[in-house]
């Protein structure tokens, strides 16, 4: 489960940033990826929502600190859904 989410998440990041070289870890943050500004952050959220067919709340989006948070939130929503 964890592994599948990580792979799909990496693909989504690569598509959104147009960069095939992106590698993610749980601790990856906006500081680690070139171009991850507030504009790209929203693009990312929209792309992740589409990929995993989930919907984040406003509070969830605002509280995400790193890729690990994002993956956990997705896992929780996918399980529920």
């Amino acid at each position: 489960m964890e592994q599948v989410i990580a792979e799909r998440l990496t693909d989504t990041f690569r598509d959104v940033f147009g960069d095939r070289a992106i590698q993610l870890t749980r601790s990856t943050t906006a500081n680690d990826i070139k171009g991850w500004d507030s504009l790209m952050h929203i693009n990312l959220i929209v792309a992740v929502e589409r990929e995993f067919k989930v919907r984040f709340t406003t509070a969830e989006v605002m509280s995400l600190l790193n890729v690990g948070d994002l993956a956990d939130t997705i896992a929780r929503k996918v399980q529920k859904g």
Binding site: D15, V16, G18, S38, L39, I42, N43, I45, V46, A47, F56, T57, T58, V61, M62
Partner: protein, 606 residues
Amino acid sequence: MRPNLDYFQLLADARREIPSDLKRLHVAVMSDCAAQHLILLLKALFLRRGIHAEIYEGPFDGIDFDARNPGSALYAFEPEYVVIINSVQMLRDRFYQREEVASFSLESLQRMAVIWDSIRINSNATIIQSTFAPPVERFFGNYDRSVKKSLSSVVADLNSMVVSETGKRQGILLLDLESTAARIGLNSWFDERMWTLGKSLCSFAHLPLVAQNVVDIVLATQGYGIKCVVTDLDNTLWGGVVGDDGPHGIRIGAHGDGEPFYRVQCFLRELKRRGIVLAVCSKNEYAAALKPFQENSEMVLQLNDFVAFVANWNNKPENIRTIQQTLNIGLDSILFLDDNRFEREAVRAMLPAVVVPELPEDTADWIKTLTDLNLFETVSFSAEDKLRSSQYVQEARRRTAAETAGNFEEFLRSLEMTIEVSRFIPEHIGRIVQLLQRSNQFNLTTRRHNEAECAAMMRDVRGWIPLYAKLADKYGDHGLISIVILKPDHGSGVLEIKDWLMSCRVLTRGVEEYLMNYVFEQAREMNLPMVRGTYIPTSKNRMVAEFYGPFGFAKTHVAPDGRSEWALAVSDYKTQRHFLTAEADQTVCAAASWKEERWNKSSQNA
């Protein structure tokens, strides 16, 4: 939904390198919501149409500051288009802060009007102003609109004032988000999360549609657009096959299973009234294809609604090519409607420039699909538009007359043509701008002057001689069909022909000869010994590459890009023969351009 408007696909497209040889446009985007996403989408969508859009992003919610300061970065950018997007979310916040809202919509309008007028003073850019999407919230249920001070009433009020106030001004076009949001549905349109997180105008899924509408409007001002609909007959204008079912066996009519086809015919008839010409292209026996029009009283469209009626067994691309040549319009201004997939594919393959929409299987869905594609965008609607279809029919009659007349000169004389040439006047500016935008083939320089620029030349009586010509003959009125813009230079003794364009419908009538005589008369009256002209090549105007030659002009210079300069001394000009008579009732004559007094008098009278 409109195809090919995927948000992420467009973002990827926006990252692509732009070829260096593309036409460039300066577009400024000013908004009180986030503009960055929209700007990337605009870049990608302009690129699809072969345009390199250089985009200026105004400061967030800083429209007033940018527009009112003549030294702002906005004006330094020299925009050709200023897109102003106002969000209902921002309006809503201002509304909530108010204790008293009686004058709220009027004050909001005034704030917008100051911005329009500031831009107009400081720039010749075309302004594209959004309307407000209806707010999603209702506080009185169905009674909401009955309360004058409710948010939805205030927004509706403001929208109708924006429509009427922009209509009174020159060079402002509407980006009708009110209508776009309604088409999508407000619950899908708005995404309050995205407003909270990033001040996004609407859900990201719909942002591409907003950008596409901006591109559609800009392209319409650049002369792109559908001018002719070529339609199939069987299972398109009626249900069934007339050759098998007979003129009374086909399905057509306001009730029953013929109704979807009846609606398609009504839709096409409205397009015809709007100035788009209709033509038939059908695989049928000619006589059989005519029969429903002649015998079935349920038909909405009549034979005289079509400027061309082609029914034979040839392939359709060939027939469309014939129709295109008869009408003398570009292939990219033709829309082809056919229920048959094979025919659509054949036309796409052989005539890729023709617009061939994929149509739903059920004819009842066609009108929605066609409307969603926004194929009929325009920037004006004038009396000439309503006339156009009958003009093409008259043209067909004239051609028949030409075939029987034998001697061409005799034929021209028999037309009893009258021409009116005059300096631009305010009531014709709309049509003048439209002609400037739409003429591609007979257009020496293809400069798309906008409304503000035309008005500026009209007023500058010393600097410019902007002329239009109207033509009529015994078969009917052609309206305003040619524009010649002259610039006298008394220092060097040159009368410069800056722009010359004409509707191709009136080719070879002698209009060119008449106007060239007119130009040289002007030069003589102003004691300018030399007339000069320029030809700037485009992909569409090759027909006028040697326009100046036959009049006796010498080619004085050819630039590497194909642009050529021409000159002819007034004393060497030979007056051209033609068969046009000057319209007696010529109120504003061009020579008044330098007799300033007289021009002022006539403009006061106007």
